[in-house]
Every structure is written in structure tokens, then in C-alpha cells.
Symmetry: C2
Subunit: 388 residues, 2 copies
């Protein structure tokens, strides 16, 4: 009997996660002629429910068009299966006759694969293919999806900075990222010169203090006449609580099914607006959440990111033939290389920004962060220096 | 003595307003060798304060680079001068030896030019060159800046719709536009098929009712499993009050210097979130303001928009030699043509979406709106249909 491969997508979509799906599907078809390739709808839910798209015979040009399409074409899920749920998934995979399961996602997804691999006793190969705009996977130099998201954020802040040169004021842009500040740091990737925003960058790796924030903004206004701020939605106060928990009354806090505080509703926006209005009255201030744009904006799909995502999928197909594991994008000093690493090196772990990415005494990036961003997100647009 | 031309930029920046500046400057240099070209910083404030950039001898390649740069390179202002302020401006123009003043902006900017023209007695030519992402200028088929902004909004909603196909829920995107719904309508320009979002579009031209909104969302969820909504920040209830005024307690309402209610802070976002949480409890819902991105995102500068904006500037230079007036972009059934129209046809007036752009009995676009958008904002990206 021919082999069966199951592929699924988990967690938040990215601009290039479909490249990984298509890279895996095409590589399986090349390596294993006659094999069945099944796409599970909405991640492990599709396996639980036996809900599959048969990718075995879809024309290559159609698959490649899907690859160029942002978001998760198979649908996704936020489910983080426990042992009992994993048992149901395992039975579902057995019922489908799966020889391998490639799950594309972040550290939670790797965690699911780890549990399944432990429970299966080796009868099925479990592969994790990396994806996350948060760029927070251990063993990886960077992750597929990050470059495109970073490009959107870099362009957004370049644009807003030009806007606020024309009409001065305070702008605070809230950027996705619960635990790692890489994406928020990308806001500074395309600064034109010393005067350019973002002038302040607040990341989850460093404790956030409202009084310090207000002082920082005031000093920036004195110096630049405007103040552009990038804030990670996951910034926390020194007691380890998410900022939104410090600013919003407990009865108004929203939580998701896992009990995580909802970081990016209007509460954080309103609280920061309020802090600015109270402490810097009369200043024009605007607080916006960049929202979902960075993770899938159709106009910011980076070709390098696309290619790396595709190759990670193809590599995952190879790893499926070698007993499973996690695919990692590493940097050999010259270029990105793909490696197979053990699932438990990635599962459930969070990679943070290195401490030397931030200046010790200011909420600004330090040189190593600029070097890293310059390598991954080089300037894309040529713009002139305004007359103001 | 050689002629002197003053140019300024007013109101909110756009992605292509600098093309109009550069188009005007280069055309003046071509038509009037030896003429002085002065750029006033921050609109009429620069004239009041004698704060000019001399554009006479800046190299053409440098100017063209500025043209490709989003936002207002001369800086802008929200000042709407009254008669006394206009008197100061007039004196400033006389002091600078101005023979003509080209002011790039929207209907308020045209209004300033109208007052100045009436007060000057014909000694200076006053020209209004159009610019606005709101697309709300009379006499114009569309305005420079709109196409790029519309392209961003169309791409944003295409992307968010794909995101919510993967992880279903309710998404509400708030789009700039105080009185006219064109930009919000552009959210539907790149729908893939009948199932595509935005499923609901709320524009200022039509009274907004919270109960109807909730019913609309509920019905859409039943039909599509997700609901993508585009809401103009300027939507009003039947009594003519801005929605934010109906939803937010009066003491919390923010107003600008002109007494206009601030439409796009977190209040509207929070109020819509609250309405959804109350009436559709337990549904995943996200309300985001697209904020400033549409008006100047460096990654969504449309080449046709750029060219039209440049040509409008060059045409304004010609109109400056003909006693002044307002430059209008009209459509002759085949292509965009530039016309000179009287300032008072545009000054202080608002062009609304034609009533037949919306379906009579649903908050969705009608065919004439799709036809209009298809002409101005044709699909730019090829994307595939997801499997969910």
C-alpha cells in the first residue's frame, strides 16, 4: 500500500504559511510517487473530525497559486490539545492510514507534535515545520512569516513617521507579540536618519513603566517635535503582569479560552491614550493597533520569506522520511540553512530577543538589532528626506 | 523682475501629494525659466511666518525622489483661516512677491483659496490642486490620493477576509472618512467571490443603527461562519449625530480645535466591541481602526495615482498663468482628463457617494460602486481560493 502524508496548519496565519504547505505537498509528490497527501482542515480539528482536502492530484500551478496566497488555506485552529485530545488525534491519524503528519506552526504546534510523537510509539513520523511572525522559536535564526510581517511593520512606521513630520504629534503603534519583541523592533528597520521614528520602542523583554513612558515621550517631543512609539502588545510591568492588566480594571479584562488576557482589544489602546491625555495634556496624540495587517497583508509578501517558507515545507517532507523532528532555519554566517532538530528543542519554548538588541539605558534599539534587521529586512523603498 | 510662485500643502497627507508638488514645481521651471519657486512649510503657516524652502534650483532627480515619497514633504497644517488670518496670509504673499499661490489640498484648502482670491482683488493668481483620500471633492471623478488609499483598504480587507476564513469570527475594520464613504466602499474592491468579505459596509451617507448592525452581523455569521465588516469612522445615527456621539458619554467625547468630535480614537472601537460583546456574547470579535495606514503606506503607492497627481500639479502651474481656479480630475467616458473649474464649485463643498452605490435594502455595495471601483482600483494581486 502507498504511503499517506497528512499536513495541517496551526495557530495564527502568516503571509507565507501556504508556501510551506505547498512546498511539503510538492516534495512529497516528487519523493513518493503514488503517495496520498491529505490536508486536514482547521489543524488537528480536521484530523479529529476526519475532514480532509485531498491534495494528491491538485494541479501544480493551482497549488503554487495557493502558495502565493496569504493566510492558512487549510484553515487553522487555536486548539492546544491535552493528552486526551492527542489520543483522539492519534486515532484519527491511524484511521486515515497516516505514515507521517507534518504540522506547520509555532511553539505550541511543536508541543502538540511532541506529545503525539511520545504517544505514538514511533509508528507515525511527526514533523514540525516552523511558522510565526513572532520570530520566537528556539533553534531558529528567524522563522518563516517573520520577514514579511517585519517588512509590513517597517513600512508602516516609515510611513507614519513621514505623516507626523508633516503634522506633528504623538503616535503610538501597538504591534503583535506576546513574549518576544522582534516584530516590534522591526518598526525601526527602515529609519531614514537620526531624526527618524520610531523614537521609542517598548518590547516584552523589558519591564514597562507608565511614568517612564511618559517621560520618554516628553523628552522626545522636546527633541524631535514629534514622537513615534512602537509598543509590543505583550509589554509587562515589573511585577510580570501584562500592561493591560495594570491599566484596566480586573472586571473589564477579557480572557481567551486558555485564560490568557486578551492583549490587543481597545483596552490597551484606550489606556495608553488616557495616560498621554492625563500626563501630556493638549498634545495631539493617536494610539493605533496595527492589528492583523502585519501577519497577512497581501501587499507585503517578501520573496525571500516566500522561498524560505517553501523550502522549509520541502525539507519537512524529507524529515518525514527520517522519523520526524522539527525543521529549523539557521544562519551559517553567510546564508540561511535548513536543519532537522529534536522536537523538544522547540516545543513550548520561547526565544526572546537577545538582551544586547536594546540600548541599556534607553528604549531604543542597539546596533546588534539593526545589524540583524538589516540582514533580514533590507530597505525596500527609496524615499526622499522631507523639507520639514 | 522674474515671477514668483508659492506652493503649499494642506490637510491630511496622502501617498502621492508630493507628486503634485513636484509636478507643479517642474512645470513652473519649464514654463517660466528664471522664475522663483518657493515652498511654504506647513501650509499657510509658512506664508504667515515667512518660512519657505527654495525649490528653484533643487536638482530634478532630487525633486522626483521627493515625488515618490509619501506624505507632505513641505509639512502640512489643519488651520482653516478666517478672514483675519487670510489677511495675514495675503500680506505674507505680497511680502514674498508672489504672483501665484498653488495650494494642494481638499475642500477646506479650496475654501482658503476662495477667500484669498476674493480678498486679493486679482493681483495674485490662486490655484487649488486637488488632494484627498476621502475622494469627496465636487467636480472630480476621483481625487489624487484616493486610488492609493483605496488600494491599501482593498488589500487590507482581502487579507483580513483570508485570515478570518482560517480562524472564523467577527472582524470590524474602521476606515477614515468623515462625510463620504468612498474609501470604506473600497474595502469590497478585491472580493474574490460571493463568499468574500467585507460582508457588510457602513458608510456616512446612510444612517447607522446599532440594532440593525447587530442583526446584520448575526445573519452574516449564520450564512458565512465569519463576518467581515467595514465601517466608516464618520457613520452617523438617524438624528445626524456621529455614531461615536451616540455610544460614548458626552463627558468622554474628544473634540478638535474646530469643535469636531474626534472620530477615530479608541472610543468608537471600544463602543463597537461592547455592542458585539453584549448582543453576540461568546463570539470571537475584533475591532480595529485601520488608522493612518491607508493615506500614506509606502507599500501601496499606485502608479496611476502617482502620475495623475503629478499631472494635476503640472496643470495647476498652467492654471496659475490663467488667473487661477481649481484643478479637477474628470472622466470623459474613456480616460481621466484635467479641467480648470471655478474655486467656488469645490470650496467647502462635499461630494457624497451616489445613492445607487449601495444596495437599497442591505448594507452592501451595488453594481455601480463595483463598476467604479473596478475602473479605478483593478485587482492587483493574484490569489487562490482557500480550501475552507
Amino acid at each position: 500500500m502507498s504511503a499517506t502524508f497528512v499536513i495541517a496548519q496551526g495557530g495564527g496565519p502568516t503571509a507565507v504559511i501556504n508556501q510551506t504547505l505547498v512546498g511539503a505537498a510538492l516534495e512529497i509528490r516528487k519523493r513518493h510517487p503514488g503517495a496520498r497527501v491529505l490536508g486536514a482542515r482547521h489543524g488537528v480539528r480536521g484530523i479529529r473530525d476526519g475532514d480532509y482536502v485531498d491534495l494528491t492530484d491538485i494541479r501544480e500551478d493551482q497549488l503554487r497559486l495557493i502558495g502565493r496566497t496569504p493566510s492558512s488555506a487549510l484553515g487553522s485552529t487555536r486548539d492546544k490539545p491535552d493528552a486526551a485530545y492527542c489520543d483522539v488525534i492519534l486515532k484519527g491519524l491511524q484511521k486515515a492510514g497516516a505514515d507521517a503528519f507534518i504540522y506547520i506552526g509555532g511553539n505550541d504546534t511543536a508541543g502538540t507534535q511532541q506529545i503525539l510523537a511520545d504517544a505514538s510509539g514511533g509508528s507515525i513520523a511527526f514533523v514540525h515545520a516552523p511558522k510565526t511572525i513572532d520570530n520566537d522559536l528556539e533553534e531558529n535564526d528567524h522563522t518563516p512569516g517573520f520577514i514579511s510581517a517585519a517588512e509590513f511593520v517597517a513600512g508602516a512606521f516609515l510611513s507614519v513617521d513621514l505623516d507626523f513630520r508633516a503634522l506633528p504629534g504623538i503616535y503610538v503603534g501597538i504591534v503583535m507579540g506576546r513574549h518576544a519583541g522582534f516584530l516590534t523592533a522591526a518598526s525601526a528597520a527602515w529609519q531614514l536618519d537620526e531624526d527618524s521614528g520610531p523614537h521609542l520602542v517598548y518590547v516584552p523583554e523589558r519591564a514597562f513603566e507608565v511614568s517612564r513612558f511618559v517621560d520618554d515621550v516628553r523628552a522626545t517631543l522636546d527633541r524631535h517635535r514629534r514622537c513615534i512609539v512602537a509598543v509590543s502588545e505583550g509589554v509587562s510591568t515589573a511585577d510580570g503582569k501584562a500592561l493591560v492588566e495594570s491599566l484596566v480594571p480586573p472586571e473589564r479584562l477579557e480572557r481567551d479560552a486558555h485564560g490568557n488576557v486578551k492583549l490587543s482589544g481597545s483596552d490597551l489602546t484606550a489606556a495608553l491614550e488616557q495616560a498621554l491625555a492625563t500626563h501630556l495634556p493638549g498634545k495631539r496624540a493617536r494610539v493605533d493597533a496595527l492589528g492583523y495587517m502585519p501577519r497577512g497583508y497581501v501587499g507585503a509578501i517578501n520573496p525571500v520569506d516566500s522561498e524560505e517558507a517553501f523550502n522549509a515545507g520541502a525539507f519537512a517532507a524529507a524529515v518525514a522520511g527520517e522519523g520526524g523532528g522539527s525543521v529549523a532555519l539557521q544562519f551559517d554566517g553567510r546564508q540561511t540553512v535548513l536543519k532537522k532538530v529534536p522536537l523538544d528543542h522547540v516545543a513550548g519554548k520561547t526565544r526572546h530577543m537577545p538582551p544586547d538588541f536594546m540600548q541599556a539605558d534607553a528604549n531604543r534599539l542597539a546596533q546588534p538589532a539593526y545589524d540583524y534587521l538589516k540582514r533580514l529586512v533590507p530597505a525596500k523603498y527609496q524615499v526622499g528626506r522631507p523639507f520639514v
